[in-house]
Symmetry: C2
Subunit: 336 residues, 2 copies
């Protein structure tokens, strides 16, 4: 491996000059910089991140802590984060807690604190008290994306308002018999988000003088499969079923749509379904939903951290990102 010394020796200049030239620092004659650049390329020199990290205290890497990679929301956020980091020349290190609790604290103690990263982005999820504390006490910039985590700043959509918008869309269509497909639960994925959406659902119903039936609060676990099974039960009785279902996520909405199709229930004629997310499948499925843009959220958070790294001072920022009602074919007037 050719090192900075090789380049310096080849040109008869000092390593400091090579370093400055290559990093675009001022105080290097343009002619010198050109020669250095050329020679470095010719020798195939690539700086060692370990060495520069050790010397400068900057790793040029950012970490993302998440409960699972292979879920729509998280992978989309990741994509947004990555785009920004790439542009800034930063590398992305992913810490997934991946289902089993095994190695959870190893992640915390070995990696997150290991000076491997300059900043950390935490995806909304349930943390133990100890873990939360570890995050709070991080010495470098950090932020939560998605739901709130106590004592840590965060960015995300206004979950309560998003849920309210969805429910009010149904109410405006004349629905009064509205069920809720809830998320959260088996995954450690989150606590705050499902709770806020649920609470907003209840509050909105109450604000409009509509009653809530506890047996119409179905558990969908944020997944297609669980939601489908729940919906099959929820919609089983033609004589007594909701005319609309507010789903706390699109994936659960797909489960409800599927259940309706299996039961021969017409959408939106007999049943309206609305979700939250605007998942990739929502448009082709004709699903009405509240759009959020996870990639934007990730990019926004990454920008924030990158900015703080640059200016070395905390940023002022509005914590909430926009959402938008997208009307498609899965919602319509309440049946008479």
């Amino acid at each position: 491996m050719t090192s900075i010394d090789d380049v310096a020796a080849a040109l008869g200049v000092s390593t400091a000059t090579v370093s400055r030239a290559l990093r675009g620092l001022p105080g290097v004659a343009e002619e010198t910089r050109a020669r250095v650049t050329t020679t470095a390329k010719r020798l195939g020199y690539v700086p060692s991140s370990a060495a520069s990290g050790l010397a400068s205290g900057r790793t040029m890497a950012m970490g993302v802590l998440l409960p699972a990679i292979d879920r729509w929301y998280f992978s989309a956020v990741l994509e947004g984060v990555d785009r920004r980091l790439r542009a800034a020349g930063y590398d992305l290190i992913v810490f997934s807690l991946g289902g089993d609790g095994v190695n959870r604290d190893r992640v915390f103690h070995r990696s997150i604190l290991r000076k491997r990263i300059d900043a950390l982005l935490v995806m909304c999820m349930h943390l133990t008290d100890e873990e939360r504390e570890a995050v709070q006490q991080l010495e470098y910039p950090h932020i939560v994306v998605g739901g709130a985590v106590e004592g840590v700043r965060h960015v995300g959509i206004d979950d309560a308002q998003a849920a309210r918008d969805a429910v009010e869309h149904l109410i405006a269509l004349g629905h009064t018999r509205i069920a809720h497909m809830r998320g959260g639960g088996s995954f450690d994925i989150d606590f705050e988000v499902p709770r806020q959406r649920e609470q907003a659902f209840r509050q909105t119903m109450a604000d409009h003088g509509l009653g809530i039936r506890e047996d119409w609060s179905a558990f969908g676990d944020f997944t297609f499969a669980t939601s489908r099974v729940s919906a099959l039960a929820l919609l089983a009785d033609p004589a007594d079923r909701p005319t609309a279902v507010f789903c706390s996520s699109d994936e659960m909405a797909f489960g409800v749509l599927r259940a309706a199709a299996e039961l021969g229930i017409g959408v939106p004629g007999e049943l309206s379904v609305i979700g939250i997310d605007d998942h990739e499948f929502a448009a082709p499925m004709g699903l009405t939903t509240i759009r959020q843009d996870p990639a934007d959220q990730g990019a926004y958070a990454a920008d924030l951290l990158l900015g703080e790294l640059l200016r070395n001072e905390p940023a002022e920022y509005p914590p909430s990102r926009p959402h938008l009602l997208v009307e498609r074919a899965s919602t319509g007037p309440a049946p008479v």
Copy 2:
């Protein structure tokens, strides 16, 4: 930040002893090791990865190069890789080429070669000649997951056989009018995989003496939305349409199912649909498919690299992972 020297000083031992004790190396009295461990924990000592990487030449990180994070296959592979790495105490660095070609070569030259990682896992995708060469000449262990990349070893399912199994399932059900929903195209995602599946489709049809209609080779781009639109056209004419569609991926199969539903075509009564993947939505959708396990492929590849890192010699290994026909409700006998 407390360093190894602080720990050593606190105990009145040398840094070498602390290092040995903490890394579980032999030649340390158990009593000493215990004292070191305790003190290190008390002082909140966490070794710096940059320093140890610089000194030892090991970064304890593995890279994954992929065209996009937020797609089913890739995020699932990532999950499998991550699980293994976590267990081995390795960190995961993700290099996404993410759509736009911007910064592509920066990824190659700045990150991959930057001694930041001990090994690289490349997700099947289209690489420029120069990029392919860069990968081939990597000095550390590397492997491709998914489709083949010329000149680099790889692991994945036997795509040709998987496609053949799918098509023969349809043929065994009596279908002769079989269409193909093809993937590949707009994403740089892949070249080899869609081609192999297409070729196997053609070969299998020919082997069974069945004709192929070029207008029944539809382009689905590996996505739900594109496939749905293609299928809408493919299935438009009740008097002249296929009785079965072989889809090169589940997401495209969902598009075909959706199109069939919109057109009022009964599945599997009038139309059989089969996919490849066993996507999370396949079971609740009742989709017959060829199951593959991306997480397993990722884990397998990661294990391989980890093993080589450990033993310092290339591993012998079977390049192909299993696939399995999963019969569900979307395929049935050809209509008479």
